[in-house]
Structures are given as structure tokens and as C-alpha cells.
């Protein structure tokens, strides 16, 4: 078991606290079968892979991937990047990753930056080799918006209403819990490199079988190639259904 990065400095009134979904990602990404996949997908002397996490929150998953790069990707030369809409999450992520990296200097990749942004809108096309997304997946009536004042980091105390909005943003997924995830799925063809692979967390309420089918039928994989979408990690069985699962997505 690779050690879980410390997040004791993270303000949990403003940033999503690591939970079962985060830990499922850690377990799945560091499993022996993932290692085999990564080793054949990103062989040691191929160009340095760029790893992106969308919505890293506390930064626990990105810090884990960075600090244990050599165990997870069988090479320490990876670059990592986090993009979060919440500026407090960006600051938390930067700190969590840098602490974990310092603790594991011989196996760690290089952390580029935490960026405040809306999903992948600020990325140059087709650069990402590994994309990780633990989305706001809970089905909700409405999709929350970031309070206008928090789009720019301003001085002053965060109000109680703003705090609850920030946390709501981390879990509320709108219709079927898929409104934000669908935007990311639609952008995969533009965001992932040719060899790119995405890890997406889904809950039973997201109708994962239908989601995987939709991905396999997307037509932007490139000539002679098709999208693959396979479940590679599950947790929390409930009435015969897996409560949470991780889907790996790539072109083949």
C-alpha cells in the first residue's frame, strides 16, 4: 500500500474532504493491472506524460499520482497539473502535492501548477496523456454556479452561503449527476493526446452502462480507431449494484 498524502492543512469548510470516491481512485490508479496498462501505454523512454486532474479539491489524488509516479507509471518523469474552479482548492492542491513530493523525492514526478479554471477550457489541444476526474456526480435538481465574488480571489471573509455553494459545486451534478461530466466526455477528443487515457468516476445514479456505451459510440477517435470504455475499479456494493466505479477511457 502506497501512503496516502497528508491533507491536514486543507480547510474542509471550503474544499471537498477526501472520501470513499477519492480512495477508490487511489486504489484503482495504483493497482497492478493499472501499472501494467501504464507501462505498456507510456514505455520508459517515450515522451514525458502529462497528467491532469480536473477538480482536484484537496489535492489528495494528484499528490498521490505525483509522489508515487515511479510506482504507478513505472517512471518518475511525469508532469502533473490540476485545474479547479475553486481558488481555495487550487491553493490546497498546490500545498498537498508539494508536501507529498518532498516526502518521496526518489519516486516523485514534477508538479507544474494548480490552475483556477472551468474544466479544460484553458488547455492547449491534445496534450493530456492521463486525465483523472472525480466529478460532481450526485444527481440534483439544479447545477450550482460559482458565486460571482469568488471568481476572483478577493480579500474578505467567505460568507456561510458562499461556503455552502463551494461545497455544493464539488458534488452537485444536475440531471442524472452528469451535466458536468458530459461536458468533459464531449471534450475528450480535443483534450487527450493520441495515446491519452482518462479515468472517470461514476456512481450508480449516473447510469454507468449507458455512459460507457455513449463513449464507445463517439466518432472523434480518429481514423481507424475507436473509443474504449471499461470499468477498472468498483466499491460499495448496494442491492447488487456497484455504488461507485472508475471507468478507463482511451482510443484503440
Amino acid at each position: 500500500m502506497l501512503p496516502t498524502p497528508s491533507t491536514s492543512h486543507v480547510p474542509y469548510t471550503l474544499v471537498y474532504e477526501p472520501a470513499e470516491d477519492s480512495f477508490l481512485l487511489l486504489d484503482t490508479l495504483s493497482s497492478p493491472t493499472s501499472l501494467t496498462f501504464h507501462t505498456s501505454h507510456f514505455p520508459p523512454s517515450s515522451p514525458t506524460p502529462l497528467v491532469l486532474e480536473i477538480g482536484p479539491g484537496s489535492g489528495v489524488v494528484l499528490a498521490f499520482l505525483t509522489a508515487h509516479a515511479n510506482h504507478i507509471f513505472s517512471r518518475p518523469d511525469i508532469l502533473t497539473l490540476g485545474i479547479d474552479i475553486n481558488s481555495f482548492a487550487c491553493a490546497s492542491t498546490a500545498k498537498t502535492v508539494s508536501l507529498a513530493s518532498q516526502d518521496h523525492p526518489t519516486t516523485s514526478g514534477e508538479f507544474l501548477s494548480a490552475v483556477q479554471g472551468d474544466l479544460t477550457s484553458c488547455l492547449r489541444g491534445r496534450q493530456v496523456d492521463v486525465l483523472v476526474f472525480n466529478p460532481p456526480y450526485v444527481p440534483t435538481e439544479d447545477l450550482p454556479a460559482l458565486p460571482e465574488r469568488l471568481r476572483e480571489k478577493k480579500e474578505g471573509k467567505v460568507t456561510f452561503e458562499e461556503e455552502s455553494k463551494l461545497l455544493e459545486l464539488s458534488y452537485a451534478g444536475g440531471k442524472d449527476g452528469m451535466e458536468t461530466t458530459d461536458r468533459v466526455i464531449d471534450s475528450l477528443g480535443d483534450v487527450l493526446s493520441e495515446r491519452g487515457v482518462a479515468y472517470l468516476l461514476l456512481c450508480a445514479g449516473n447510469k454507468p452502462e449507458a455512459v460507457k456505451q455513449r463513449i464507445r459510440e463517439m466518432d472523434n477517435a480518429g481514423e481507424g480507431r475507436r473509443w474504449k470504455a471499461e470499468t477498472v475499479g468498483t466499491s460499495g456494493r448496494q442491492a447488487g449494484w456497484e455504488k461507485l466505479q472508475i471507468v478507463r477511457i482511451w482510443r484503440e
Binding site: A91, L112, S121, R124
Partner: protein, 136 residues
């Protein structure tokens, strides 16, 4: 943020993306900081083939303007990327690239789009790419 991050970012405005002028973004009023990172030749060798060299050259020329004081003065990058052999045999080049790519951080300032002119603020090392609602 590592200066190297600019090799992967563009303007967040949709209509700018089709223009080649939206990449790289141009640093303005940049305050830099240097991290002490151990040199990793293997990383640089594997990183080189995936970099946009022209963009990197632009970024390094713009960020090290005379107004920004770089303690050692940063040397100009060659017009084309060095080969792996050049990198492995030229210790100074390796160290310069290491210092530029792995150690240089942009802490404060702005990143400006060459198409729409929008300025993205960088504060405490974190750039903000959220757009005001009229630009989304």
C-alpha cells in the same frame, strides 16, 4: 506555477483558440521565483520531444525582459531544439534548460492573450482562467 506550464495553456475564450496567436500567452509584470530542484537529465531528454520549442523560446524571451531581474541573466535559447546527443554532451545547455523548465516559477503577474488581449491574473503562483460572464 512553473513557467513550463505556459507550454500547455491557451486563452480560455472559445473564439481565440482557432488563431495561432492565442498560444503561448504572454507574461506581463511577471514576478519570478526560483526553486531548487535536483537536475534530472532523463526527464529533460524525455520532455524535449513534446515541447513546443518556438513557444518556449517566446516565453523565455518575454519573461526575462530587462525589467525582471534574473540573478544570472538567462541565455537566449537556440532557434531549434537541441538533439538528445547535444543535450547529453553539453552540460551548460542541460543546466540552463533545467533551470528554465524545472526551477523557474511565475508567482505574480498577468498572462495576456495575443488575440483578444484578455489578461489572466496570476496570484500566489496560481493563474485564474475563469472568464467574466460576458466572455463565456
Amino acid at each position: 506555477m512553473k513557467l513550463l506550464t505556459l507550454n500547455f495553456l491557451t486563452c480560455a475564450v472559445k473564439t481565440c483558440k482557432s488563431s495561432s496567436d492565442s498560444f503561448p500567452l504572454h507574461p506581463k509584470d511577471a514576478e519570478l521565483a526560483s526553486d531548487d530542484v535536483e537536475v534530472n537529465p532523463e526527464l529533460l531528454v524525455n520532455l524535449l520531444p513534446r515541447l513546443d520549442w518556438k513557444a518556449l523560446k517566446t516565453t523565455s524571451a518575454e519573461v526575462f525582459l530587462p525589467s525582471c531581474i534574473y540573478p544570472l541573466g538567462f541565455p537566449q535559447l537556440p532557434d531549434s531544439p537541441p538533439t538528445i546527443e547535444q543535450l547529453q554532451s553539453d552540460d551548460k545547455l542541460l543546466k540552463d534548460l533545467h533551470s528554465l523548465l524545472m526551477e523557474t516559477n511565475l508567482m505574480e503577474g498577468k498572462l495576456v492573450c495575443g488575440v483578444c488581449g484578455h489578461e489572466y491574473a496570476v496570484r500566489e503562483g496560481i493563474p485564474n482562467f475563469l472568464l467574466p460572464s460576458h466572455l463565456v
